[in-house]
Point group: C2
Chain length 217, copies 2
Amino acid sequence: MGIKERRKREKQFRKKEILAAAKVLFFEQGFAATSMNQIAKQVELSKGTLYLYFKNKEELYVSLLVEGLSLMNEAFVRAVQDKTTWIEKLSALGWAYYQFSVDQKQFFHINVQFHHGEITKNISDDLYQQCAEAAINALSFLSDAVQQGISTNEIKQEDPLSIAVILWGSLTGTIMLHEGKDHRKFIPAPIDLLIEKSINILIEGLKNNEPEDKAKM
Amino acid sequence: MGIKERRKREKQFRKKEILAAAKVLFFEQGFAATSMNQIAKQVELSKGTLYLYFKNKEELYVSLLVEGLSLMNEAFVRAVQDKTTWIEKLSALGWAYYQFSVDQKQFFHINVQFHHGEITKNISDDLYQQCAEAAINALSFLSDAVQQGISTNEIKQEDPLSIAVILWGSLTGTIMLHEGKDHRKFIPAPIDLLIEKSINILIEGLKNNEPEDKAKM
DNA sequence: TTATTAAATGACCAGTGGTCAGAAAATCAC
DNA sequence: GTGATTTTCTGACCACTGGTCATTTAATAA
């Protein structure tokens, strides 16, 4: 029964065609400024057909993120492959993430929007899960490096995953603050210096930093 | 000429009425799901009138942020007023920011959207400037504390403003990652623990951390 | 009272995201 | 081949959107 499989392949192909068309327009114009009509025209299908492949505009938009996160994971693999110490690894991952936010600016922006949640509200559980898994996978690069630092007793922490979230969040926030989609900027410092200091501070902060039960002031 | 002034006051009042109505709906439903028609109905004005006071939907939305940033600044004033060391100050500011993101969740979200830039693209330079100034003002609390640490030689850094941006960005990112508007969560660690660790790491990272011209690996 | 200015209206516009009955195309059964 | 069945696709249609603007209404000035 090769026909069923061929049809399935063709359906997948259509989906990818739609995604490719959507990518062009979303990346050029942003989410709000891009309409389903435009996408339909670009991919030479009727608008109704788009809804056979994606439940709504948000789902189509966030689906792009899957590719983006995959690219990011590849970058992370490359970043750590020839590194040995946890410091080298974390530093390389930090820089790889920053580089990703430059090279794949648009993906980075979708990622921020995904985590912010306003656009994400209407996407399917399935797609959400896909993105979450990819994100967790990215986090694991960080937490592995942290775990290594814990093993060698250079980092005094209990939960490497928590630390990974902090590292990831810190860089995401700092980059976002500086590199928004609006052309206007009010932050004086150059971004690469910011990233350098940021990575440096975070790594230094992890060294021999006893976990303590401070009162929350 | 008291009439001119009275009219000006009345106009300001109208503007505030519109903002109040918009706030209710935007906070309940989010930006995209709230329409200008709804807001007009809520404030008992025609839709056209809204556009006499705000140039577009985004401008109306982001205008809310001005109030939010003002609240945040007040919280920052309270946070540092009885603190002496830079560590106490930074810690208190960090917690105050987190508390703000909980108490004024919606304002925090607008702030993220503002910095992300997708929604912000169409707002006036005037409003942008207002928000930028308020943000810089908030940053100055942080950079003042950092400056204090530099003065006492406990922090080895050159540009306190850059550090302030990093601190602000780090917390913003970490909170955003964990507290998106989507109900679904995939980050296991409790947020307050994350914040505690985050503040701790950042402060430790600042202590005696020589600024160096490391190659970017 | 009349003229002037300011404020508010709502019908109107092009376009939106999304739906769905029906057309078109491909596959299956014979 | 033919007709029945299933899958894919279409585009007219819907309620509604953000935004505009000639016109009306109200307030002030002369």
